[in-house]
């Protein structure tokens, strides 16, 4: 369990983490989602005492991290894949960490095997690919068999097999009742791995809810309609002020505020041929973009992000 209360980090005049209050519960995978520069890594570093908060406090399993006498047995942490001296063989890196906590050498070999590094354990970590570095970092995090895991971008650089391995591993650890807290900016991965999401933008929490709820909050689901008679159908649909129609291409409409049966009935009544009529679920990506829309630190050129033309009731075509 991780509990942050008013956690704040300032560098000079820049506030990177701005009064974050949240609880990461055991038995669940909690995703920490936000654009680059939103303060995810800084928050995680503060949790394990590497960065000192400017204000607020954070505890892990009931105590500040530094007050645990055997911290690696409480919390396993992967902050970045480069947390290792490149000249040191992977096994020696893990062995040195193990020795600090009197952890048995057999456990070192166990996590090496678990991470699939047995064949490269004697190679220097500097020769590792990014994916192998991630595996080494995850092996280090698991060394003390901790109750809480904090992983910053664990799937970054992993191949599909590695991504699947991390996902299965983390779900398994959460199912055992452990606390799993991982950051990512990959929505698709979060949708598959996480149960709960803490979404941040510009150092502030913009959502803290189960994944399904975050998605649901993104708004009503839409219906996609493909018809050769798009302008006429759009005009008909727009008579209802609750209905919003967007045209994404000449024969395609995205309709919100209506249902497939209602649209089908309306089209049939007007003799309009439909080629496609499909409900579209709002994705986590939509939810995320909507939540963090105003909070992005580094934005691409506005021209790329302009929304498609919107037809509202009565508007001339």
């Amino acid at each position: 369990m991780i509990e942050a209360d008013g956690l704040t980090k300032r560098y000079g005049s820049a506030t990177v983490v701005d009064g974050m209050t949240f609880t990461v519960q055991p038995g669940k995978v909690t995703g920490f989602l936000g654009p680059n520069g939103a303060g995810k890594s800084t928050t995680m570093r503060m949790v394990v005492g590497l960065d000192r908060p400017s204000a607020g406090r954070v505890t892990v399993n009931g105590k500040p991290y530094a007050q645990h006498r055997a911290p690696l047995g409480e919390v396993g942490v992967l902050l970045d894949a480069k947390g290792v001296h490149g000249g040191r063989p992977a096994r020696d890196h893990l062995l040195a960490l193990a020795l600090t906590h009197g952890i048995d050498r057999r456990r070192v070999d166990e996590v090496i095997e678990l991470a699939g590094l047995t064949s490269v354990a004697r190679r220097r970590a500097g020769h590792f690919s990014l994916g192998m570095g991630q595996r080494l970092g995850i092996a280090a995090a698991l060394l003390g068999d901790p109750q809480t895991l904090i992983l910053d971008e664990p799937v970054n650089g992993l191949d599909p097999e590695g991504v699947l391995w991390v996902r299965t591993l983390l779900r398994g650890l959460a199912a055992e009742g452990r606390t799993v807290f991982l950051s990512s900016h990959l929505m698709s991965e979060m949708a598959l791995t996480a149960d709960h999401l803490i979404v941040v933008g510009r150092g502030r929490i913009v959502a803290d809810a189960p994944v399904a709820e975050v998605v649901a909050r993104a708004g009503t689901s839409a219906v996609r309609v493909r018809t050769p008679d798009a302008p006429r159908l759009a005009a008909l649909l727009s008579r209802d002020p609750a209905v919003d129609v967007r045209s994404t291409s000449a024969d395609l409409l995205d309709v919100t505020g209506s249902t497939t049966p209602a649209i089908a009935a309306l089209a049939a009544g007007a003799g309009i041929v439909l080629h496609e009529l499909a409900p579209v679920q709002a994705s986590l990506e939509d939810a995320y973009l909507q939540l963090t829309g105003g909070e992005v630190e580094y934005r691409s050129t506005p021209a790329d992000a302009s929304p498609p033309a919107r037809h509202t009731a009565g508007a001339p075509r």
Binding site: L50, A66, A70, L72, G83, L97, E176
Partner: protein
């Protein structure tokens, strides 16, 4: 908790794959064991140690053989054996100081420091453990160095009429002074490395101190400055490895009233001050 059942005997618990991993509290001695694995698992450590060690027999043999040619003209017992045996100390000093700086700065360069301090979040024990291992290595280099230097110079002892006499307090002081001086100077370099946190800046500040700042003070023809120069770390510490009769092995100020152990004490005071600064900064700074 993951433990499926309470272990009935230690043997069955250990053989069970999902048994809870035993984790002990972090202690200073565990951190020393970890730091030893860390430093021995880097190839650069062994290259540095081999290089530092090689200077002792090499310079002892070179200097002994060169004075052997003029020894006949010198009065009996003119040459102090240990001064020649320990000739390699200056060059070895550079190498072990480099090792002392890099042992700490490489942690910052590679990001290893985050793993290190996540495992030892109270931080200072980790610093002390690393200091212990690095200065221990420097001491060992000094000890093995004077012994190999002794062996390498011995063939010329008869010709020159000099010896290493371990019943003579000055001889013992010069021979044991080398490992002590190297260990203290390595601790100084280590502390500077921990303060600046960058290999380039750390090595530059150590070399700058030893070769630029201290000689510059000593060579300015203004007596108060020259007296001050004697209290700078290298000059003061080098008194311990300087024979009473001959000039210094390590060049330094000529106008000093510091005795060998007094000088070494001054060096230790510098080391203590820099280590306190390094400790305070380590506690305060983000990593």
């Amino acid at each position: 908790m993951t433990t499926a059942a309470t272990p009935t005997s230690p043997a069955t618990a250990a053989s069970r794959p999902r048994a809870r991993t035993a984790v002990q509290p972090v202690t200073y001695s565990r951190l020393v064991a970890a730091e030893w694995v860390k430093i021995r698992s880097l190839r650069s450590t062994w290259w540095a140690l081999a290089l530092a060690l090689a200077f002792f027999p090499l310079l002892a043999a070179m200097r002994s053989s060169s004075i052997a040619a003029i020894a006949a003209d010198a009065p009996p017992n003119f040459f102090v054996g240990p001064a020649y045996v320990t000739s390699g100390v200056t060059l070895a000093l550079l190498v072990v100081c480099g090792l002392g700086v890099v042992a700490v700065t490489a942690e910052y360069r590679t990001g290893q420091i985050r793993s290190t301090l996540a495992a030892a979040p109270t931080r200072l024990p980790a610093l002390r453990a690393k200091l212990t291992v690095v200065t221990g290595l420097a001491f060992a280099v000094g000890l093995v160095g004077v012994l190999t230097g002794w062996a390498a110079a011995a063939p010329w002892f008869g010709t020159i009429g000099m010896s290493v006499d371990l019943t003579d307090p000055q001889h013992v002081r010069l021979m044991l002074g080398v490992p002590l001086y190297l260990a203290a100077m390595t601790a100084l370099a280590f502390a500077l490395g921990a303060i600046v946190r960058s290999s380039a800046a750390g090595i530059a500040s150590v070399l700058g101190l030893v070769f630029v700042v201290e000689p510059a003070f000593a060579y300015i023809p203004f007596e108060p400055l020259q007296e001050l120069a004697a209290y700078l770390p290298t000059a003061a510490g080098a008194r311990l490895v300087t024979s009473d009769s001959l000039g210094s092995v390590v060049t330094g100020s000529g106008v000093t009233t510091l005795g060998p152990w007094g000088g070494f004490g001054v060096l230790l005071a510098w080391v203590a001050v820099l280590l306190v600064v390094a400790s305070v900064l380590l506690r305060r700074r983000d990593v």
